[in-house]
Symmetry: C2
Subunit: 339 residues, 2 copies
């Protein structure tokens, strides 16, 4: 596509990390989507990514229309450098594209004994509580906490009840989905995953007002504001969509999509050894909280993905047939070896 | 109780602000609870609150067992000062107590054209997904965003499906509560608010695994770790409880309860005028998102509390009889005028 080899390797690393961690929806399965955006001239493969505003602990980055897979790590490196210098670092990003899994970026901080944060806005598919209009993305929030003897805690969650990927699985298998995941185009509750592509929408975490969907809406709003209003990117219904069934709208208020990343140095608050002793005790205690059902204990955030990576690094990454076909199609187009 | 008059006025201001904003559960209704903790020698009314660790943009504060209502504003002032100096400021707090509404503290940043953040851990009443053990508080997260022509956006939410106060209302009125709010002591779903005081527990936002309770659990965990593991306070099931029906446990790993507060300067990212233009457009657009039901539009976070304050400042704060009685009882005990 014209990326230099350093950028291409970084983008591949972000996608592979998702597959290694078992987050198939955000791995190489998405490669064809990035190529589709490039075909539509919506990705600049030779971006001049730069800082356009800064203070000792904050900055805004213009991604120049580059791949989010490349722009977000650039921003995270700045956040980490600022944290090294003054305890914490925060970077708002405009004019970017889909950045893959938030966890990749936030985990960069953990390697430096810092707490990491990453969020991004995304294709408008989620309604505010009481609305039938698609106004927000699945807008993920990610926090990563280093631990001592345990793997890091990785919270990496869409602020909708369910992420897109889960609906696709249900739709493929023709299964009903739980209530509270989607509503139809008129705003009626639905258990049919196909409603999303028929003008319906995803629901914010909580599902409905009685179950706290105003909180999911609020969290998703915070992600949108941090990522785009603070950076100068597009927000709400103006976010340039990644999914093929939504079109780009006119009169955009900003540039591209937005991210917000940050890092706090742990020793900006207390000695690392004290923190590690306590975080390990926290993890140990929560893992041993009394179970409702003996067969299923408490799951520490990030634990399933950590275990998947241990297995996938040995056994390789399983790919479904349709993704293999997509990759082969791309390989042929770009004169590369097929799988 | 022995507070100096400056601290007493500040604490009263925090409680009154909750009542003004219509958050009755966290206003003067709680005064008797703070007195109860003081009776148990769990509140130091003459604390020496101090910074025990810092970098240019971060600090840890020891609250010396003081009222959270006084300790948290002290911490927030430091966060704001650090943000003035280097773009953002972050303060972890240990050895504190219940801090009232998170919104009070985070709104201090808005007065300085900053985005505010406040969180705290709290009495263990919430279970992790798959557990029947009370391990976490309702652990609120609060973000405040200044706006231009509109009132500020205030997200101030418990990370459980429902906050304690709502259960108390249902219990008083003998009403069934929605599914997903509580479970009984064995971990069975329940619609009976009284289960909470009978060994049951509140559920994390989402309610159950199908509806995303692992996300509510993850958010609540993040609040606990930021507030206590990062500061050296107590976490998880060791958090010293505020509610009278839970006892203090032994072998505490830290000191008091913990908070985490912060502020980002908006002009650390872009000119304030640009931000204000966009945040006003954001609010306007979301307020006008198409409705499911003509009678109910989208509610911007903080809007109901803003409206309540406008009314209450004119008409006064309505108090239910039981709160009036509590206040009169306290007035008699401390030789003050009754209501």
């Amino acid at each position: 596509m014209g990326c230099n080899s350093k950028d291409a390797e970084l983008a591949a690393d972000v996608l592979l990390k998702a597959d290694l961690r078992g987050i198939d929806s955000h791995g190489v399965a998405r490669l064809i989507g990035y190529v589709r955006l490039w075909d539509k001239k919506r990705i600049n493969t030779k971006p001049e990514i730069k800082i356009i505003h800064e203070t000792p602990s904050t900055a805004t980055v213009d991604g120049d229309g580059g791949l989010g897979l490349v722009v977000a790590p650039f921003a995270m490196k700045i956040a980490i450098k600022k944290a090294e210098e003054c305890g914490s670092g925060w970077v708002a990003v405009k004019n970017s594209n889909h950045f893959g899994i938030a966890g990749y970026h936030a985990l960069m901080a953990v390697e430096k004994e810092m707490i990491g944060m990453a969020m991004t806005n995304a294709s408008p598919l989620v309604t505010p509580t009481f609305s039938k209009e698609r106004m927000l993305g699945t807008n993920p929030i990610c926090y990563t906490f280093p631990a001592g003897e345990y793997p890091p805690i990785v919270i990496d969650m869409a602020t909708s009840t369910a992420a897109n990927g889960k609906l696709e699985v249900a739709e493929r298998k023709n299964l009903a989905i739980p209530s509270g995941w989607v509503q139809d185009a008129k705003g009626n509750p639905s258990v049919n995953a196909a409603e999303l592509k028929a003008g319906g929408s995803l629901l914010p975490l909580g599902g409905d007002r009685d179950h706290g969907s105003h909180k999911g809406f609020a969290l998703s709003s915070a992600v949108d504001i941090f990522s785009a209003v603070l950076s100068g990117a597009n927000y709400g219904p103006w976010v340039p969509p990644f999914v093929p069934y939504l079109d780009l709208v006119n009169d955009l208020p900003g540039e591209g999509i937005g991210h917000f990343v940050g890092a706090w140095r742990i020793d900006g608050f207390r000695p690392i050894a004290d923190y590690k002793k306590n975080i390990d005790q926290w993890i140990h205690r929560f893992k041993h909280a009394s179970k409702i059902d003996d067969s299923q204990g408490v799951v520490i955030p990030g634990e399933p993905e950590y275990k998947a990576e241990l297995i996938n690094r040995v056994k390789g990454i399983p790919l479904v047939k349709s993704v293999q076909n997509d990759l082969d199609e791309l390989a042929q187009r770009f004169n590369l070896e097929t799988l």
